[in-house]
């Protein structure tokens, strides 16, 4: 078994072989999901709690469906961060949940590092469903699976990541994953939305989108995270669309067979042209959603195996 991690907190701690093993297993779950009977029993008897301190529809639904298809008992807890601020600290919430003996905890939190903190206090496997601007590992894995299925490989590709890099955990996780898999990465953003020091991670930086798209095999668009901005990052949405919105004219600078990706939800007419997003010859945005369920099934399956093995060792330990 190549995948050894106890939690999935980010892409950073994963080895390339672990990434590949997630993708391989996810491929099999894609097949399962396309059948009429989608049920599996690998998580039977296990409890999965989805704890979202930040609003989410898509990711939460994807995790919920993934857990249910694997036979887990799934519970959703929507914890708006405001109610947490009123009293209970994150650690208290974690300890309360831990006492209910969940097996898998899926957590999204508005603060970078919060999921790491929580993982250090519980006995179950923790999956990071996005923490602040830090990481969103299942998104990067599902993007990798989408790319691998569309391009036939996840190495030696030129990938342009474009848009609000500064506020994006998706960009960070993708940057780390694509680097580990030996791809050429370009970041395209207005300088106000480019985090400082990222060139040190081994990528090329562009503020001219056409220049950055030249020769790209994959064009990954990011959502403009208006909710994380406290004003003044861009002059206006229309100027942003003019300079950094993906349309057919700008896409023509990329390779003719380049695919277009977006983690959703999209701001049509802000970062991407609506028609282009729906163009089934170029856009793999719907595939990403499909791969999302399969990748999350694979991640939970692998973490559950490790959890069972760990508990098995503990039981053997007590008997001896």
């Amino acid at each position: 078994m190549a995948f050894r991690a106890r939690h999935l907190l980010g892409i950073e701690p994963l080895a390339p072989l672990e990434i590949t093993s997630v993708l391989d297993l996810a491929d099999r779950y894609v097949d399962l999901n396309r059948r009429t009977v989608k049920q599996s029993d690998v998580l039977e008897g296990m409890t999965q709690i989805n704890m979202f301190f930040e609003n989410s529809t898509r990711t939460q639904a994807s995790f919920e469906l993934a857990g249910k298809r694997l036979g887990a008992d799934v519970m959703n807890m929507s914890v708006a961060s405001s109610s947490v601020k009123k009293g209970e600290t994150l650690i208290d919430t974690a300890l309360t949940l831990n006492a209910m003996h969940p097996d898998l905890l899926v957590v999204r939190h508005p603060n970078s590092g919060a999921v790491n903190l929580l993982a250090s206090k519980v006995n179950c496997a923790v999956l990071n469903a996005g923490d602040g601007r830090h990481e969103h590992p299942t998104q990067a894995l599902l993007d990798a699976l989408t790319i691998r299925r569309a391009k036939g490989r996840i190495q030696r590709l030129t990938v342009a990541i474009c848009g609000d890099i500064a506020h994006s955990r998706v960009a960070r996780s993708n940057l780390i994953l694509l680097n580990k898999m030996e791809n050429r990465i370009r970041l395209i953003a207005p300088p106000t939305l480019m985090p400082s020091g990222v060139d040190a991670f081994g990528c090329e930086l562009f503020d001219d989108m056409r220049e950055g798209l030249k020769g790209a095999d994959v064009v990954m668009m990011l959502r403009l995270q208006k909710e994380r901005m406290d004003g003044g990052f861009i002059p206006s949405e229309r100027e942003y669309y003019h300079r950094y919105g993906l349309d057919a004219e700008k896409l023509a600078f990329a390779n003719p067979d380049a695919i277009v990706m977006h983690p959703g939800p999209m701001n049509r007419g802000v970062e991407i042209d609506g028609d282009l997003a729906d163009d089934i010859n170029r856009s793999v945005i719907q595939d990403q959603v499909e791969m999302g369920v399969a990748v999350r099934m694979a991640c939970m399956d692998l973490l559950a195996r490790n959890l069972r093995a760990e508990r098995g060792r503990q039981i053997v330990g007590t008997m001896v």
Partner: protein, 423 residues
């Protein structure tokens, strides 16, 4: 009081810059002189060849009285200081409420005298409630014993109000301590911008925000001719401005924190909140530049910026956690890292930790020459140990050095010739 004669000592004298074997004689709490014979009837103290230095004058210690005694009391801070070789605490006014009236100042002065085994002097707030709008009763506060005036980490954005406070302070000869930081730029930041902050996705501030804050403060000093001390200079970019101000003859000094001298931004690692500071830890290049600035005298003072924080305020996501660390008991072993690393000699370290702060604040401490108060620390610079935060005497245990291997142990501490700590 009795007469003490310290012999077989390695005397660390920051005034002369010497580090040599010698003896020291103390009578009635005052130093009689070095290298004399033991007077008749004197108590002989064999220092075992270890270092005898002036006690540390720690400028900028947060104590939780009034308001947050669960974090630190005068008693616990005093015990921690004695164990750490700190003989004079210069306490901060960022309490609840702030020390901004003579009445509050008298209260804390009385409490400190009753409870602490070391000397404690208080800074008062420069503006009411540390809000940066209206100056405090600087004259009355001076009469009540305020040693300097500062709003600590609350940076006034009301430059006009600040210039008036500085002008008024100047007329009374009061020393004003500023926190150089561009407040709007650093708002919400918990790390220094750069590769690390970007990788971890933490809100960050450019190191230049410190220079911008310093340049403003120095321009105000030029305008008002106030006596000014910058509490913490932590970035290389601030140094030229500081050098220019000193060369121009402005009455300006600067300090830095022991943590910024011994740790860098990467120490935060996996969101470890004990490594969160105000200002945030800097790059390794900045750390090296600050050490060099201490060696060449651009920066005058090293302080601990002891900031007790309870577990609850640290067990939070990094952005929301409290900043600061307890350091009264770790300032000396941390400083020994600079000595063992070959960056600063022991006399140079005690110049920055004892002599310079005392002189700037008009205190007779920080020296081991004739007529100086016998505030002394005996320590072994080489003794190794592993730091255990639960062994600290502070009520709060938030030290970044927990589990760290350190060298430098305080063996004994004297205040006015009376022993207040023995290991």
């Amino acid at each position: 009081m009795s007469t003490l004669h310290f012999h077989n000592a390695r005397l660390i004298d920051p005034e002369t810059g010497t580090d040599a074997p010698g003896t020291l004689t103390v009578k009635d709490g005052v130093i009689l002189g070095q290298d004399g014979k033991a007077p008749k009837g004197a108590t002989l103290i064999d220092c075992g060849g270890k270092c005898l230095a002036p006690g540390i004058v720690d400028w900028g210690v947060k104590i939780g009285e009034p308001g947050e005694r669960h974090r630190e009391s005068f008693r616990s801070a005093g015990l921690a200081a004695a164990a750490g070789g700190v003989t004079t605490i210069i306490a901060r006014p960022d309490t609840l409420p702030a020390i901004d009236t003579p009445e509050t100042l008298e209260f804390v002065t009385r409490r400190a005298q009753e409870s602490a085994p070391v000397r404690i002097r208080h800074m008062a707030a420069l503006t009411k409630g540390r809000e940066g709008r209206e100056m405090t009763e600087i004259g009355f506060l001076l009469d009540a014993g305020a040693i300097a005036f500062t709003d600590v980490f609350a940076v006034s954005t009301e430059t006009k109000a600040l210039s008036r406070a500085l002008t008024y302070a100047r007329s009374l000869g009061a020393l004003v301590v500023g926190h150089p930081q561009e407040a709007a730029l650093s708002k919400g930041a918990s790390t220094t911008s750069g590769k690390f902050a970007s990788l971890k996705g933490l809100p960050a501030v450019s190191p230049l925000a410190e220079r911008m804050g310093l340049e403003r403060d120095l321009a105000l000093v030029e305008m008002t001719r106030a006596r000014y001390h910058a509490d913490q200079i932590t970035t290389a970019a601030s140094l030229p401005a500081l050098q220019r101000a000193k060369a121009a003859g402005l009455d300006v000094t600067a300090g830095t924190s022991i943590h910024h001298l011994t740790l860098n931004e990467f120490d935060v690692g996996d969101y470890r909140t004990f490594f969160k500071f105000t200002p945030p830890l800097r790059s390794e290049e900045d750390r090296q530049a600050i050490i060099a600035a201490l060696a060449d005298g651009t920066i005058d003072v090293i302080a601990s910026f002891h900031t007790p924080a309870d577990e609850e305020s640290k067990r939070l996501p990094f952005e929301e956690a409290a900043a600061g660390a307890v350091a009264l008991e770790t300032i000396l072993p941390a400083a020994m890292r600079l000595y063992h690393g070959g960056h600063l000699s022991l006399p140079a370290l005690f110049r920055a930790m004892a002599l310079n702060p005392a002189q700037r604040l008009g205190l007779p401490q920080g020296r081991i020459s004739e007529d100086a108060p016998a505030d002394l620390v005996l320590f072994d610079p080489d003794a190794p140990f592993q730091m255990d935060r639960f062994a600290l005497r502070s009520k709060s245990k938030n030290t970044p050095f927990d589990g760290a291997r350190m060298e430098g142990k305080v063996l004994a501490t004297w205040v006015a010739g009376a022993q207040v700590f023995t290991a």
